[in-house]
Amino acid sequence: MSAGGTFKPRQATTEPLWLRALLLTLALSFLALFLVLPLVIVFGEAFSKGWQVYLAAITEPAAAHAIKLTLLAAAIAVPCNAIFGLAASWAIAKFQFRGRQLLITLIDLPIAVSPVIAGLSLMLLFGARGWWGEWLNDHDLQVMFAVPGIVIATIFITFPYVARELIPLMQQQGREAEEAALTLGASGWQTFFRVTLPSVKWALLYGLILCNARAMGEFGAVSVVSGKIREQTNTMPLHIEILYNEYQFAAAFAVSSLLALLALVTLVLKSTLEWRAARDLAEAEACRRPE
């Protein structure tokens, strides 16, 4: 290596060229096999029977209804979980209380619990033979195998995502800024909207994006509670399953390609947000330094 004559400052802390090339090839092959190939397959299979089949698959009434229902469930679940995330992170990050660490652990529970168990639990609560089944039946309210059940299942599965983005950031920021605002005469809500919210906006957006991606893609919990009634309680992932089991592969991949596109948009937005947040942080550091 040193025979080349060029000075390499980090030579002592890097690997020989052949090893670097080998590790890089291994890592990139692994990622290509597990990440790129599935994406290529989704789009390749979706267009395998041509544009007409693709367009027909995503515009037929059952697909259109599934898309609408998926958007509806996400449109309700994401704002609910955003409000929860803000409340929970305010309580956990700005105050000290007994059982705080346990609460943080419990917030993560839906991530560790199998979605099938989440769906099953809701079934035991709202189903015909569940705790509230009779009451709901008497009042002519349908939750299981209907849209409300799908929405509740989606909220259950996605509720940690906003909270767990906000909690560490708000903990790190402490509460001096809020205390200063209060001392200067701002009300509690003013402090929250003018001081706290702007300082966590990127993390909040990031949480919302992740929450939305999960909400639109949720499969296990929703498949327990939906009953899979075509054009009534079918979300996009469930519609994909039905098409796939009916051997309509091109149509299944066509609907999948929409969700894959959503995933790619999510990744782009996420990277942009991380970049903006890092830039804001650098600017804030730069402002602080001259003092």
Partner: protein, 284 residues
């Protein structure tokens, strides 16, 4: 912050408002959404007496499903630990074209719906699939076997190890490696004695996260597994078939067993993260 509280002053009364409101809302929301449904699950399983409970959760079919679920999840988390470390290493230490795009792509399994991943992986590894047909012509079946399930779980858990190891590796002080090198250590020695020990807590955290996620996974596995009782039936799927037979108490009993395991894993992950952070923060 912490300077104030350590300096011996009596703890100040918090002046920030809204604790009651935010805490109350948090507890109400979590109780209605999580605790109440999970309580319903646990109570439903009590409808069985102890013998009935054991009969359900220790039936041959259930035990075969645990073995499959834990075996494939463990194998997948192990594969992810090795390749996750490799990917994190390459992303932090080396420069190569499209690095930012590849870095962003690592999160794909978080963003891609599991059902989509499931049918895509099945299309790749089925006997008539893109890669599967090559193996099939050599007499190896991938989809509809535990190998296929493991591959799906590798996909699902891929980001966890990378994302827990990456920040630790970024913060690792290269001075330590330079010092070791100047003292005559070989590159392999430096890796084994200096770098790897610092990464162990985060590697284990990533492993546990990937393992916990894999145990509960349903969407991607259901397509690639073939769902044969005793052979390729994972526990969440067994719960699903109990439900379809309207055996709610049996489904709840299996659910309680999985819930307990998830909770224990979650506590373990929390402990590991704590350890990881104290190690990580302490080195600064």
């Amino acid at each position: 912050m912490s300077l104030f509280s350590r300096s011996g002053h009596p703890p100040r009364k918090p002046v920030l408002p809204g604790f009651g409101l935010s805490m109350g809302f948090t507890m109400l929301y979590m109780s209605l959404l999580v605790f109440l449904p999970l309580a319903a699950l646990v109570l439903k399983s009590f409808e069985l007496d102890w013998d009935g409970f054991v009969k359900v959760v220790a039936s041959k079919r259930a035990i075969a499903s645990y073995q499959l679920t834990f075996g494939t999840s463990f194998a997948a988390a192990l594969i992810n630990m090795v390749f996750g470390l490799l990917v994190a290493w390459v992303l932090v230490r080396y420069s190569f074209p499209f690095k930012k795009i590849i870095d962003a792509l690592v999160d794909l399994p978080f963003a891609l719906p599991t059902a989509v991943a499931g049918i895509a992986l099945t299309a790749i590894y089925a006997p008539n699939g893109w890669i599967g047909q090559w193996f099939y012509s050599h007499g190896i079946k991938i989809a509809y076997t535990p190998v296929g399930i493991t591959l799906a779980l590798v996909f699902i858990g891929l980001p966890f190890v990378v994302r827990t190891v990456q920040p630790v590796l970024e913060d690792l002080e290269q001075e330590l490696e330079e010092a070791a090198a100047s003292l005559g250590a070989s590159r392999l020695q430096i890796f084994c004695r200096v770098i790897f020990p610092a990464l162990i807590p985060s590697l284990l955290t990533g492993f546990a996260l990937a393992f916990a996620r894999a145990i509960g996974e349903y969407g991607s596995v259901v397509f690639i597994s073939g769902n044969m009782p005793f052979r390729t039936e994972i526990t969440p799927l067994l719960i699903m078939s109990r439900l379809e037979e309207f055996d709610y108490a049996g489904a709840a009993a299996l659910g309680v067993v999985m819930l307990l395991i998830s909770f224990v894993l979650l506590l373990a992950i929390n402990g590991l993260q704590h350890w990881s952070q104290s190690r990580h923060g302490g080195s600064k």
